[in-house]
Symmetry: D2
Subunit: 449 residues, 4 copies
C-alpha cells in the first residue's frame, strides 16, 4: 500500500467514544465485535464492504476501500461512552432489542465489560426521557472539565493512540443559533455563566475538540455547526462533521430524487411519513424535538430538484415529512412515501415507496465509517468541516455560504475522489473509466482534424 508521506500511519488503538450508548451504539459495537470474530458480515459499511475503482485502461482495477486507504483495523478499535442509564452494553443491547439474543450471547463478555460513564443531561433539551446516571456537576464549564477528564482517563486505561467521538444520543429540542454560539470567546463565557442556550451536545463537542478528538454529530442537533465550535475545530486542527445520520427514508429520497431529475420528470408533491417505536421515536414525539428533525429532513429535496433552475418541473413541490411514535414497531422503522410526479404534457403519475427498514442496522455502519474516516482525515492533516463525508448526513455541514450536496451519487463521487486524491490516484467520475473514451478519441481524430 502506497501511503503518502504526509499520512500518519494507523498504528495503535483507536478509541471510539460515543455520547449515547443505546440502540445505535450497541448495534455498532456488537457488530464490530461480531465482524472481527467472523460471526457476521459488516454489510452497509463502505470502509469494510465497498470497492473503489481506480486507474484507466490497462491499470484499471477495483479494490476494497479498506485495502486502498490505510484505515484503522477493526481489531484496533476500543469503545466507550456516556449514557443516562447505567446499563452495560450487553444489558443496553438486550434492552434495545435490535440484535437477536443468540448473537448477543456470543458477545456477552466483551459487551458487558463496557460500562457507560455518567452523562451530562438536561431535561430541557429532551423532555421525553429521564435518566439518573448523570454527572453531579451542574455548571457547564465544570461539566466540560469532567468530560475532558473522562476522555483522558478512557484513553489511558485503554492505551489509545488516537480517539474519535461520534454522537449516538437523542435529538435535542429545536433552537436557533444565538449570540453565545457566534464565537469561541462568547461560547466559553457562556460555559462559565451556565448559559441555557448551550445544549448538552455542545459540551461534548467542545470537550472533544479541545482535546483534538474529531467529532461527528449523528443527530440533527445544533452543535458543531455553530461558529464557536467551527472556530475551535480550526484552532485545534481537528476534523468535524455533521449532521444527522442519513439512514432510512431520507436515504431513499436522495436516491430517487436524482433519478427523477435525471429523467427531467416534474414533481408536485412528496409526502413522507415514518412510524417507529424505539427511544428515538419517543424523543421525537415531543414537538420541540421533532422540529429539529423536521428541519433537517426538509431541506433535502430543494438541493436536488432545483426549482429556480427549472420552475416548470420543480417550482412548486409540496414536501411534507412526518415522524410518528408507534410502539408496535420497535426499532423496525417503516417509511412510507407518496411522490406525485408528472411527465410528458404534465400527465400525473405516482410513486409509492414503503421501506421496512431497521433504524440501528442502517445507522451502525455509518458510525463505523465516520469513526474510521474522521481518524483518516486527522492523520492526513485535514481539519475543520469534512465536506467529502456529506454522503453520511441528512444535513451535510458545509463551509459558510456553500450549499450542501444532497444527491447520494454526487456525495459518493466526492468521497471516492477524496480517497483517490489522498492516495495519489487520478480523480474520476463515480463511473469508472469512460468506456467511450477510446472510441470518441477516434471520432475526435476524424471530426476535429
Amino acid at each position: 500500500m502506497n501511503i503518502p508521506s504526509s499520512l500518519v500511519p494507523a498504528t495503535g488503538r483507536l478509541g471510539v467514544l460515543m455520547p449515547g450508548l443505546g440502540a445505535v451504539a450497541t448495534t455498532f459495537v456488537a457488530g464490530v465485535l461480531a465482524a472481527r470474530k467472523g460471526l457476521a458480515y459488516p454489510a452497509g459499511s463502505l470502509t469494510q464492504a465497498a470497492h473503489i475503482q481506480t486507474g484507466k485502461g490497462a491499470t484499471e482495477r477495483s479494490s476494497l476501500i479498506r485495502d486502498f486507504v490505510p484505515l484503522t483495523k477493526l481489531d484496533d478499535l476500543v469503545f466507550g461512552g456516556w449514557d443516562i442509564y447505567p446499563d452495560n452494553l450487553y444489558e443496553a443491547a438486550r434492552q434495545a432489542n435490535v440484535l437477536e439474543r443468540p448473537l448477543l450471547d456470543q458477545l456477552q463478555e466483551e459487551l458487558a465489560a463496557i460500562r457507560p460513564m455518567k452523562a451530562v443531561f438536561d431535561r430541557h433539551y429532551v423532555r421525553n426521557l429521564s435518566g439518573e446516571w448523570v454527572k453531579e456537576t451542574t455548571n457547564k464549564w465544570e461539566q466540560v472539565q469532567d468530560l475532558m477528564a473522562d476522555i483522558e482517563q478512557f484513553s489511558l486505561i485503554n492505551h489509545c493512540q488516537r480517539l474519535v467521538m461520534v454522537w449516538c444520543a437523542s435529538t435535542e429540542r429545536y433552537h436557533e443559533p444565538g449570540p453565545v454560539h457566534m464565537s469561541l470567546a462568547a461560547f466559553e463565557k457562556g460555559l462559565h455563566e451556565n448559559d441555557p442556550a448551550i445544549a448538552p451536545s455542545m459540551l461534548y463537542a467542545y470537550a472533544a475538540l479541545k482535546m483534538r478528538v474529531p467529532f461527528a454529530m449523528g443527530a440533527p442537533n445544533l452543535c458543531v455547526d455553530i461558529p464557536a465550535l467551527e472556530e475551535l475545530a480550526r484552532l485545534t486542527n481537528t476534523p468535524i462533521g455533521g449532521k444527522d445520520f442519513k439512514t432510512g427514508q431520507t436515504l431513499m429520497k436522495t436516491i430517487i430524487a436524482p433519478g427523477l431529475r435525471a429523467r427531467a420528470l416534474g414533481v408536485n408533491g412528496w409526502f413522507s411519513t415514518n412510524i417507529l417505536g424505539n427511544r428515538d421515536g419517543l424523543v421525537l414525539d415531543a414537538p420541540e424535538n421533532f422540529q429539529t428533525k423536521e428541519v433537517s429532513k426538509g431541506r433535502v429535496l430543494e438541493g436536488i430538484l432545483d426549482g429556480e433552475l427549472s420552475p416548470e418541473l420543480w417550482g412548486d413541490i409540496h414536501h411534507k415529512v412526518r415522524i410518528e411514535y408507534y410502539p408496535p414497531h420497535g426499532d423496525n422503522k417503516e417509511g412510507w412515501d407518496n411522490i406525485d410526479i408528472f411527465g410528458w404534457l404534465g400527465y400525473k403519475m405516482q410513486i409509492k415507496v414503503n421501506f421496512l427498514c431497521r433504524d440501528s442496522i442502517l445507522a451502525a455502519p455509518v458510525v463505523l465509517d465516520l469513526a474510521l474516516f474522521l481518524d483518516l482525515a486527522q492523520r492526513a492533516g485535514m481539519s475543520g468541516i469534512q465536506e467529502w463525508l456529506g454522503f453520511y448526513w441528512k444535513s451535510p455541514q458545509t463551509e459558510p455560504g456553500a450549499s450542501p450536496v444532497h444527491d447520494l451519487f454526487q456525495q459518493l463521487n466526492k468521497l471516492e475522489n477524496m480517497l483517490r486524491y489522498l492516495m495519489g490516484e487520478e480523480r474520476m467520475t463515480t463511473f469508472g473509466l469512460d468506456q467511450y473514451e477510446e472510441e470518441t478519441a477516434e471520432v475526435e481524430s476524424e471530426t476535429h482534424s
Copy 2:
C-alpha cells in the same frame, strides 16, 4: 452557439418515421404538436426540459440542453409511419385513450392529416394482434423495396432534409440470432429467399439503413443488434441504437439499485410485477413475446450489482420479472417491486415500490430525444452503435464484447459528456464542479510538498 466545424447545421425539416402508430407514437406526435403550440410542457424530455452544467469556477453555468447543442427545432419536425390499422393519428390517439379528449380535439386537424402507410406484418412474430392494413407483397426482398419507396415518397412529399426512424410497434416473439443474421451477405440472401428468421422489424431497419436513415429500436426485438445490420450501419455511416425504451419499472430499478450499491447494502431478491392493459400488454400476454421482454428486463441488475466483485452482498440475487395483461388499467401501467435487502450483520429489510405510471407518457419523450439525438449524431459524423444513448434503453446495445452500463446516473454522465465533447467543452462528472477542488488544492500544496 459555438458549433464545431464538423457538425452539419440542423437546417430544414427532419422527418420522424415510426413503424407502429399506436399509443406511444400518437402520444409523442400529439405532444410535440401541443408543445409547439404552447398548450403543454414537454416534461420528461432531456432535449426540451433538462439543463446541462459546463465550465468550472468563474465560467460555470447551467444551460438548457437545447440551447447548448444545435438540435432540430420542434417546429421543423414532420411525422409519418406505418401501421396494421388504417386509422389516422387522431383516430388512433382516441383509440389509445392516453391523452384526454379536450387536448386531442385542439390538435385534431393536424393529427387527422397523418395517415399510416401499409405495414409489413407477420402474425408469426405477434400472435395476439391481427390487422389488415398490410402490404400486398409477401416476399421479404420486395417488402424492403416497398418500404424504401415509402421512405422516399414521404421525404419528397414532406420536403424533408433529413430522416430518422424510431420503432414504436410491438414486441416480436423471442428468437435467437441464427446464421442468416450473421453477415450482410447472408441477410440479403435471406431476404430474397424469404427466410422466416428475418423478422418484420429487421425489414424496416434494413430499409432505413440502406437509405442512411438512423434507426432506433424501441421494443426488445432482435433487430439492429445483429451483425448483419451492424455491418450495414457501418457501411452506410448511419447511427443506430437500441433496444427497448427504458420507462417504468426498469427505470426505477436502475435508479434504486445504484443507491443500494452506493451504500454497500446486500440484496437477496428483487421481485417485479407489472400490470397493464394496453395493446403492449396484450401482445406480451403471448409467452413467446413475453420471453423477449423478460430477457431484456432481466439483465439489468447484474450490471449494477456485481456479484462477482462482491459475492457477500450480491452473489445470490433472486431476480424475477413478470408482466401481466390486465385490461382495467389500460395504458396506466402499474409496477410493483419487492426488494429484499440486508444490512449490518445480514439483518433483513424490505423495500416496496408501487409505481402508478403511464406507459406512453414515459415513452413519448424518449422517442423525441432519440429522434433528435440520432439526427445530431448523424450530423456530427458519428455512425454505428451510439453507446452514449444507453440512458434510454433497457438493453443498451454495445460494441461486441463490451458490457452495457445500466446505472442511470452513469448513463446520464456518458450522455452529457458526449454533448460537452461535441461542443468542445471539458468533460466532467455529472456533479458539476468539485466543490472541494480548491480546498483540497490547498491541502495538496501542504501535504504533497
Copy 3:
C-alpha cells in the same frame, strides 16, 4: 308493493337542504341529475343500486331496495342549501374539481340555477376558512329565525311536500358538551344570550327540528348528539342521525377489523394516515378541528375488537390516526394503513392497505341514502335517533348508554332488517336463507328425538 298502512306514501317533492354546498354537496346533486338523465350510474348508493334478500325457501327472492321499500323517486328531489361563498352549484362544482367538465357541462343549466342562501358562519369554529356570503344577523336566536324563514321560503318556492336536511359543511373545532347543551330550555336560553358554546351547526339543526325536518350530521361536529337537540327531536317527532359520513379509511377499517375478529387474529397496532388536499383537508389542518375528527375516527376499533373480552388478542392495540393536508391530491384522498397483527403462537404479520379513494365520490351516495331513508323514517312515524342508519356513520349516534355498532356487516344487517320489518317481512341474517336449515332439520329429528 305492499305498503304498511302506517307508512305515509312518498308522493310529491322532497326538498334536500344542505348546509355547505361544496365538493360533497355538488357531487351529490350533479350525480342525482346525471342519474335521472341516464348519464351515469349511481353506484355506491344502497337506495339506488343494492339488492335486499327476503323470504325463505320457495319465497326467497332478491329485490332492488328501491323496489322493495317506497322511497322518494330521484325525479322528485329538489335541492338547496347555504354556503359562505355565493357561487352557484355549477361554479362550485367546477371549483371543487371532483367531476369532469364534460359531465358538468351537460348539467350546467340545472346546476347554475341553484344558488346558496347566505350562511351562518363563525370563524371561531372553522379557523382556516373565511367567506363573505354570510347572514347579517349576529345574535344566534335571530340567526335561527333567519334559517327557519329560509327553509319556509325554499319549501314554498319549490313546492315541497317534505324536507330533509343533511350537513355537508366543514368540521367544526373540538368542544365538549357543556351546560348549555344539556336541555332544550338551557339551549334556547343560550340562543337568546348568544352563548359561544352553541356552534353554527347546532343552529341549523335546531331550525330543522323545530320545523320537523329530519336532520343528518355529515361531519364529526358536536351537534344533534347533545341532549338539548335530542329532546327537541323527540318533542317534534323528527328523525335525526349522525355523525361523520363513513367514507374512505374508516370504511375500510370497519370491513377489515371484523375479518380479523372472525379469524381470532390478534392486533398490536393500527396506524392510519390520510393525505388529502381539498377544503376539508384545509379545515382539518387546524389542530382544534382535527381533534374533532380524531375523536370520531379513533373509537372505531374498540367497538369491533373487544379488548376486555379477549385481552390476549386485543388488549393492547396502539391505534393512531393522522390526517394531513396535502394540496397535490385535491379531492383524491389517499389512505395508508399499517396493521400489525399476530397469529398462532404470537407470530407477527403485517397488512398494509393503500386506498386511493375520492372523498366526495364516496360521500355523495351517502347523502342521497340518508336523505331518502330519513324521509322514509319520518313517513313511517319513527322519530329521534335512527340507530338502524349507523351503517353510514363513523360515530353512530345511539340512545344514551348504548354502545355503537361499528362492524359494517352488523350495521348492514340492522339496516336491512329494519327495511324488512317495515315491509312486514321476516327479519333474517344478512346471509339469506340458512342453507343447512333443512339438512340440520333432518339431523335434528334424528338427534333430538
Copy 4:
C-alpha cells in the same frame, strides 16, 4: 356444560393423522405442544381463542367456544402422519424454518419422538418434489391396505379413542373428474387396476373413510369431492370436508369483497399476486400444479359479487391470480392485491393490499380447528359433507348442486349457528342480540296496530 344426549362425550385420546409432515403440520403440532405447556397463545384458532355469543336480553352472554361445546382438550391430542422424507418432526420443523429455534428447542424431545410413516407418492402428481421415504408397494389397492394398517397400528400404539385425518401435503397436478371417480364401485375397481387417474391423496382419503376416520383436504386437490368418496363417506357415516385451507390472500379477499358489496361499490378488476419461497411455492412452480390452485382461488369472487344480479356493478370483473415461487421469502408469504373499484357515477378508485403474512402460521390453527370440529361432528352423528365448516376453505365443498358461500362473515354465521344448534341454543345472526329489537317492538305496537 349441557351436552345433548346424542353427543358422544369427548373422552380419551384423539389421534390427528396428517399426510405431509412439513411446514404446516410441524407448526401445528409444535404449537399445540407449546400451548399446552403455556409457552405460547394459540391465536388464530376459533376453538381455542374465539368467543361465541348466545342468548338474548337477560340471558345474553359470550363464552369461549371451547367452553361452550364439548371439544377434545389439547392435552388429549396425539399426532402422527406420513411424509416422503424420513425426518422426525423436530428435524422437519427446523428445516421448515417457520418457528424460531428457542421455542423448538423447548419442544425438542416431544417433536423428535414423532417420526413419519412411509408415504404413498407419485411423481406424476407432484413433479417438483422427490422423496425416498415411500412405500414399497406400487399397486394402489395394496397401498390402501398399507395405509389402513398404518392407521390401525398408530391407533393401537397411541391408545386412541378416535382419529381424524387432515391433509397437510402438497398440491397435486390439476385433473378433472373422470369415470373412475364417479362411483365407489368404479373407484375400487380402479384401485385394483392401478388407474393413473386415482391420485395419492385419494388413497389416503379412501383409507380414512373406510375406517370411519373423518377426512379434511387442506390442499386444492381433487379428492373427497368426487362422487366415489362422497358415497363412501355416506356409507360409513363419516364427516368429510374440503378443500384448500383459506389462509392469506384469499382470506383477505373474502373479507374485503363483502365490504365492497355491502356498500354497493362496483368492481372492474382484482389482480392478486403472491410471492412465497417454501416447499408449497416450489410445488406450485409447476404449471400443472398451479392450475389446481388457480382454479380453487379463482371462483371466490363470483360467489360474493354476483354479476348476474348486479351487472352494472359486478358484471365485468377481471380477476387474475398469480403465485410466484420466490425463495428469499421462505415461508413468509407476501400477497399483493390491486383492486379497481368504482363508485358514484362510475368514478374509479383503487385499493392496494399488501399482506406480509406467514403461510404456516395462518394454516396451523385451521388444522387444529378442523381436527376438533370434525371430531365433534362425528360425535354428533353428522356425516358426509360438513358445509358449516366452509369458513376454513378456499373452495368449500357443498352438496351437489348447491353453491358455496365464500363471504367470510356468512361462513362464520353458519359455523356459529351450527354450534348453537348442537347445544340447543337459539340460532341468531353473527351480530348478537338485535339492539333495536325492543325499540322496534314499541314502534311495531304503534304502527301495526
